[in-house]
């Protein structure tokens, strides 16, 4: 009797819980957890910091530069980087450093805005189509196909003639078909996800369509969505360069990174800095977006939550 009593001591429940609670870390919110995870991800932080630096330079560097982006000094053409011209000069003798940061404004603005619009339209279109199914889905996807096949150049020329060149015309041109790729990928993910049991359960419980879409399906498709966005941004930047070459975009002497890279391409063998700097800036921006994007994905993934 006495040993049994020694082996099993009744717990004083109340005091035990108090002890446990004081040792347990206070529960933190979803967002704080995500931010902590992001911060510990070194590559993601590299991306974030680089982007911040690029954005700051884009906004402030042109204001503090000694040179202008438009002043042509023909006798100073194609100079290699030096103390006066940090990135060298272009074929009309203009300071490449200043032009790169003016170009940054255009490229970043156009790239991010167009991609954001493409993201929103693409996700909503694709998710809705995939979820609803049936004839609606069929025709929605066919409309996307039709838009995709119509020769883009024709549409661009029409826009140029009807609306005229400018930065908003370019964004319009970019967002006409830029969302289609995203829509297709989102739709395929939704097709897969909507078969899962918890979706059926949610429907059975009476959740509305939009609720299922917004809270269950789309967040779980975040992986491919983020990857596709990080493809859309450089596509937008180079599409803008192509459209500007045709005359749809910002007019000279302002140039974007894409336009400068285009111009610098033919000079690659002789004056490589004209290609190198804009192209490197684009790649650096893209790398940062990608690292940040991956980090965000990892940070918000509920399955990785500790």
């Amino acid at each position: 009797m006495m040993e049994e009593q020694a082996l099993f001591q009744p717990l004083d429940r109340a005091s035990q819980l108090l002890v446990e609670e004081s040792e347990v870390v206070a529960p933190i919110s979803y967002w704080k957890d995500a931010w902590l995870r992001l911060r510990s991800n070194r590559s993601a932080m590299f991306g974030l910091i680089t982007l911040t630096i690029l954005l700051t330079l884009a906004i402030f560097a042109p204001l503090f530069s000694h040179h202008t982006y438009y002043e042509t000094q023909l006798h100073l053409k194609n100079e290699s980087p030096s103390a006066t011209f940090w990135f060298g000069t272009d074929e009309l003798g203009r300071d490449l450093f200043t032009r790169c940061w003016w170009g940054a404004r255009i490229s970043l603005f156009v790239g991010i805005t167009a991609s954001l619009i493409d993201l929103i339209i693409g996700v909503m279109f694709g998710a809705f189509a995939g979820f609803v199914g049936g004839r609606t889905e069929e025709w929605m996807m066919r409309i996307a196909d039709i838009l995709y096949t119509i020769p883009y150049l024709l549409v661009v020329i029409l826009l140029m003639v009807v609306i005229g060149p400018g930065i908003f015309t370019i964004i319009l041109a970019l967002t006409l078909t830029g969302w289609i790729n995203m829509a297709r990928i989102v739709r395929s993910q939704i097709l897969q996800l909507k078969q899962l049991d918890y979706v059926k359960a949610a429907t059975a419980l009476g959740a509305s369509r939009s609720r299922i879409l917004m809270y269950h399906l789309i967040p779980n498709a975040m992986g491919p969505i983020i990857v596709t966005v990080t493809l859309t941004i450089p596509s937008a930047i180079f599409a803008e360069a192509f459209l500007s070459f045709l005359g749809l975009g910002v007019q000279a002497p302002i140039a974007s990174w894409g336009t400068m890279a285009n111009d610098g391409l033919s000079a690659m063998r002789y004056y490589p800095w004209r290609l190198f700097f804009p192209a490197t800036l684009i790649s650096l921006t893209m790398l940062s977006f990608n690292l940040l994007g991956d980090g965000l994905r990892d940070a918000f993934d509920p399955r990785l939550r500790r």
Binding site: N41, S43, F131, V132, G133, G134, T136, E137, E138, M141, R142, D145, I146, Y148, T149, I150, P151, L153, L154, V155, I157, L158, V161, N181, R184, I185, R187, S188, Q189, L191, Q192, K194, Q195, L196, T203, R209, G223, P224, I226, V227, T230, L231, P234, F238, A261, L265, M268, L275, A279, I282, S283, T285, M286, L287, N290, L291, D294, D301, R303, L304
Partner: protein, 310 residues
């Protein structure tokens, strides 16, 4: 199944009809004349040329005539290139672009999936970072810059490959790599992203615990679930890649069909514009249809699209 195919064929034909109508009227809506050059042509000669090619008739008459030709697959003569028909142009250019496109796709798919798989299995280790950087380069350096760079280094400086033109296998290597770079990078990242998610699922841990080796796990369980977005992307990508790329064909002097898509519009060569657009549409709609069918193979949970409504 047959009913499904017939219904699908009907939808495809309807789509083609809409595409050709929109393209036709869009084409005539923009300013520009196929025959006007920088050295002016007297008005009467211009009118005679228009009459010769039937361009003086009202648009709806021209359109009806064109539709008739479309059904018999007689796509008309080129306005700019005398004596050549659109059919000839497509049949001469397409095989070239097809070969190049298939090569590029093969590179992109094999390379991309491999890179993505490696990256996902070594998640957040140096192999992951490395493939990430390569992928970003593929996405952020446009194909024509990569092409020119390769041409300069590999062909001119190192003399490893021929500079340009088409004919031997070694002449296809640089163009194929240039074409494959972006898709490969995107496929790598899509694969990695989805595989990372799948690898953390419980059933994978179960399989590992049960003693299955990594390769089996990879192919039997992980791949099929992770590759859905890749398959989606491959649909339109295939159609786009096998119809060539204007920039790559220009840089390497390849007689493919890609340059015609842009050239026809720049020349306002109406018949060629229509012909190439319809050709591309047919290919695209076919590829997308095949992809939709493949979904059921890749993920048996997905029923035939069109069967369920929420």
């Amino acid at each position: 199944m047959t009913k499904y195919l017939i219904k699908k064929a009907g939808i495809l034909l309807a789509s083609l009809f809409i595409i050709s109508t929109l393209t036709f009227f869009l084409m005539h809506a923009i300013p520009g004349d196929p025959f006007v050059q920088d050295k002016a042509i007297p008005e009467e000669i211009l009118k005679a040329l228009h009459k010769h090619y039937g361009l003086d008739q009202p648009l709806y008459v021209q359109y009806a005539k064109y539709l008739k030709g479309l059904i018999t697959w007689e796509l008309g003569p080129s306005f700019k290139y005398q004596g050549r028909t659109v059919n000839q142009i497509i049949s001469e250019g397409f095989p070239v672009s097809l070969v190049l496109g298939v090569e590029a796709l093969f590179l992109a798919v094999c390379g991309g999936i491999t890179l993505g798989a490696i990256a996902s299995m070594k998640h957040q280790r140096w192999q992951d970072q490395m493939t990430m950087v390569i992928a970003v380069l593929g996405i952020s350096v446009p194909s024509f810059i990569m092409a020119s760079f390769m041409q300069y280094v590999l062909a001119m400086k190192l003399d490893l490959l021929p500079v340009a033109r088409w004919g031997s296998f070694s002449q296809t290597i640089m163009p194929a790599i240039s074409l494959a770079a972006l898709p490969m990078a995107f496929i790598a990242r899509l694969t990695r992203s989805n595989m990372v998610e799948v690898l953390q699922q419980d059933y994978i841990q179960t399989a590992k615990a049960k003693g299955l080796n990594s390769i089996t796990i990879l192919f039997k369980h992980v791949m099929r679930n992770a590759l859905l977005p890749v398959v989606t992307y491959l649909g339109p990508l295939t159609a786009a890649v096998i119809t060539g790329s204007f920039a790559i064909e220009k840089i390497f002097g390849i007689p493919g069909i890609g340059q015609w898509f842009v050239m026809s519009i720049t020349n306002r060569d109406y018949t060629v514009i229509m012909g190439t657009t319809i050709f591309f549409s047919v290919l695209l709609l076919l590829c997308i249809f095949i992809v939709d069918l493949l979904y059921c193979l890749v993920d048996p949970r997905i029923k035939n699209p069109g069967n369920e409504s929420f």
